[in-house]
Symmetry: C2
Subunit: 343 residues, 2 copies
């Protein structure tokens, strides 16, 4: 659940993630979360992810051996062993998928990810900012098909992987940006898994004003409290794209906001004014429990609080904004940090 807060509505339904991880841990024992400093600099880390439309994940379930199949393939290609899995992105499923794979394979999980949040496209990573190669990218489906990519650019990886995801039924498992621990120390967001765990624990324990407690824990802003009155969502080309309209309730009566998403929530708009935008993290949470609601679960009538929190600072450079700022998502607006808009 904590990963889903940082997932900005993307990265998959936390229920599915926890079911998979729970089964893997019950069958194989727990996976150990380790700090990068606990590993050797030369150790190989394999960032793991599900790719495709989160809407499909609840219908087309995994077979369970995807991680092992990908790891064996990458070990053959690189001629060396994988020392640890990591999350490629925080998100409801993707924050937890390395737990599943690590438990099954008896490997540790490196405490880092490549976004500090979830993003919809493969090139939107801190690894690209640090110049780490995305290749080889290996993906597999629940049937056992394996596809390995060596691409000219991360954008080509995104284009080719996305089309194969479609042919595989809209969702697949993958690894990307295999890197050494030394590289991860430069190219990954450190301690993001343990931060997600802390936030998840807080959500489980908070009983008085959970939304307020969440905002305090993540330096976030509860930008509106309201009711979902419309959801327009299309599962297309390996993405779930669309928008939700939120009508304010209580003290926010008479307010009307639109939240647009491409797997992840990208912008929150009110009366033509941008209240928050990528790369900052916009997450819809339950009004009473502050538990995150992923985009594929948004539906008419839900009472939600829209929380926005600052992204990892690495995303605020000019280079990073070119990769994952509003304009990378097709919005002709300038990024303003969420805390500058609302402080």
């Amino acid at each position: 659940m904590g990963a889903a807060v940082f997932g900005a509505g993307g990265g998959g339904d936390p229920l599915i993630g926890s079911l998979m991880a729970g089964k893997a841990i019950a069958d194989h024992g727990p996976a150990r979360l380790v700090d990068l400093d606990e590993l050797d600099d030369d150790d190989l880390i394999l960032p793991a992810a599900m790719v495709g439309a989160p809407t499909v994940m609840g219908e087309k379930f995994l077979s369970g051996d995807e991680g092992s199949r990908i790891r064996e393939r990458i070990e053959n290609e690189l001629g060396r062993k994988v020392a640890a899995y990591s999350s490629a992105e925080l998100g409801g499923v993707n924050g937890v998928i390395p737990v599943t794979w690590a438990a099954i394979d008896g490997l540790p999980i490196a405490d880092c990810d490549l976004m500090g949040r979830a993003f919809p496209e493969l090139q939107m990573t801190t690894a690209v900012l640090a110049g780490v190669d995305i290749n080889p990218v290996v993906m597999t489906d629940e049937r056992g098909n394996i596809v390995s990519f060596k691409t000219c650019t991360p954008e080509w990886a995104e284009a080719l992987v996305r089309t194969v995801v479609g042919a595989m039924g809209g969702e697949a498992s993958m690894c990307l940006y295999p890197m050494t621990v030394a590289q991860a120390k430069e190219a990954a967001v450190p301690r993001s898994m343990s931060r997600a765990i802390e936030v998840g624990r807080l959500l489980l324990e908070a009983d008085d004003d959970p939304v307020g407690a969440l905002c305090q824990a993540v330096d976030g802003f509860a930008l509106v409290t309201g009711k979902v009155v419309d959801v327009d969502r299309q599962t297309t080309e390996g993405f779930a794209k669309g928008s939700a309209v939120i009508e304010g309730v209580g003290p926010d009566s008479d307010r009307l906001l639109r939240m647009e998403f491409q797997n992840e929530n990208a912008v929150l708009i009110e009366d033509g004014k941008v209240l928050a935008s990528v790369p900052d993290i916009i997450t819809a949470v339950d009004i009473h429990t502050a538990r995150p609601i992923v985009t594929e679960q948004l539906r008419y009538g839900q009472r939600v609080s829209i929380v926005a929190l600052p992204c990892d600072p690495v995303w605020r450079s000019e280079k990073a904004l070119a990769l994952a700022g509003p304009q990378a998502f097709g919005y002709d607006i300038s990024y303003v940090p969420v805390e500058e808009i609302h402080d």
Copy 2:
């Protein structure tokens, strides 16, 4: 040109194939065609092909190093050297692409192919009939992207390769069904390259009744002489699909035929009667020179003779017809060998 006769309208424009091969031979010297018996049984043969819509090949040209890139990748994956290229299918480009790659790499060409003609889909091969694995399948584009597949079935290879072809721009280079010479002796159509060369030579030399000379050489039937009066062609999903209408001229006046194609010509129909169908080979040739006209070059006003010739006998078993007979192309008709229809 000979390969294009067997190509049934598919496998690409022979002009493009000969330009590529001519340049490779001018730059690197000729490639040697060798019989399977001249190679060691354990030698590795790499069947080569362009994949995608032939219509795209004339617009999106190769960079030249596709073959070497694919060969190096497959040698790394299999841990052994490639001894010879072969054609994966006879066709205007695909009959000649191994000449290009072999000349550049200084390797011989094994005198065989996997269809004895051209077919639109990757599973429609004699290798499948003989139980040879299609994997690994390696494809690349002119930019240098490499994708390697290990698929559950040849049909999955077809589905995944086809979608990547689309993302790469509608056309790509590939190898598939890497096999030993011992396997090729069971799984390939032998001496098809030398047969194509003989037919090509005949077309260059024939000056009196070339269509008749061609039919005699390939046991073919000239089923109509006419004018192309309509062509409906769509380049979609990595295929060129459509049909051509031929109006008889001279002794064939008052006849009206429709030829339907999916990269290759699949059926020839007159008044609801099937005059020829896959897996037999239907090829449109120039009325005066008997030179083959590939489907992407069919256009209004052309004077053509439609020639049909028997496929390799391997395609006439029940199992083979299930793989590449009329019903595999969506036609609810029973296959009748062309020589039974017209003798």
